[in-house]
Amino acid sequence: MEWAAKNLDFVLELSFNHLLISLAPLVLGSVFAFALVRFTPVKLTGTIGTTFSAIYAVPSLAIFVALPAIIGTSYLGPTNVVIALSVYVAASMFFSTRDAFSQVPKPTVFIARAQGLSPLQLFVHVELPLAIPGLIAGLRVAAASTVSMASIGAIVGVRNLGYLFLDGFQRKIPEEILTGLLAIFLIGIAMDIGLWALGKALTPWTSRSAQRV
């Protein structure tokens, strides 16, 4: 791929930017979703769920262009796109987080309470570790969508791999578009493997041999 070789520095710069713009929403959105799941009264979960389903149904370009008008962010800079992507991640992670924590076995929680663990200890030592597989699974889905959606931000001037699509199409350079596709694919896979590895690292007991007593 000659074009990629000739423009490697540029592609790497865009890739790095793209990675940052994808990671920040994942963190922000998950934290926000988690806060919603833990700290909102049960009555509201239905409404929140419906709102998020609605938000998730909004095409990303529509949100990218409407957000500055609604909340006054500047068109310039990635803030606008990061906020929009965080909302998408929150929408998707809300359901994943809720499901991940709800499938923590109740008996385990009762036993832990009976043993005298404080709510914080309960959360950190019992609920969170058991919810991690579900959370990681949700994160992997959110990560894949975020990485590909972020490229649409290039239409509003964000400097990421999506630029390769627009510029490649404008100048009629197919390799440029293909390079963009490949780079995004690689970043997507890297994030997926990274999250999978993170999940494994955080749940060492799942990989221990079943024979161990």
């Binding site: 000739k6 963190v27 068109y75 310039l76 030592h125 969170l128 001037g157 440029e176 690292a201 060492p204």
Partner: protein, 292 residues
Amino acid sequence: MTKPIKKSIKSAIALSAVAVLGLAGCAESNSEPLVIGSQAYYSNEIVAEVYAQVLENAGYSVDRQFALGQRDVYVPALLAGEIDLFPEYTGNLLQHFDPAATATAEEDVYQALQAALPAGLTALALSGASDQDSYNVTSDFAMKNNLTSIADLAGVSGIRLGGAPELAERPYGPMGLMSFYGVTVEFEATGDTTVESLEAGLIDMANVYSADPRIQQLGLVTLTDPQGLFLSSNLVPIASDAVNQEARDLINAVSSAMTAADLVALNVRSVEEQLSSAVIARDWLLSKGLID
């Protein structure tokens, strides 16, 4: 089990905080580096890159905000001081600020633009390099219908005009064709597929920038514009007050060194050799002895 998890959570929070702050920092423009913007047009980006490199070569720090889109998006940013320097085109920019402008000749348009620019923005020295909208047809179509100027279109019916979506609302678009030449066209928003659509016969007439190498490559016929539908449009740097005199002199040197042929040649390099604007800009600056 407790320590590793607590640590990972803490570092995750720390990392994300840094990332957010880092990105937030990128979003605001500091008063220190000069912010140079460009349109989502590869040719404009090359010129912006030329400005950026000539300033960096002289020791300035530059923040590139390229591919911002249309002037309706970035002019407010220019006015708000978020962008300091932008390569623009005299005719189009004049029409943006003064839709009723009547100047058509190169110098007149430049002077009218200087008068029309709001406070805080200055037009630096005009460049000889022109790049403006123009209506083009294939040579076959021109021969078949005996076309040399836009006025000749009056005798042709069912003309399909292609261009960017916003062309429909521009003063030199279908409305202008009607009022200046009495020509009716059907508009197709072909965007970046305009030249290909013209080639493929999906449209009859296309709005193509005059510095686009494909006009020569494909043997397209640019229709002349005796009624002055299009304002003459040359490359001109627009600077905010944050750009000091030394920087302005450097940019003016660039403008005087760049001819229309130069601009076309830069575009050719971009489309044929498929190089990035950074490389093309550097080579040109070196060849003109403007950087070392």
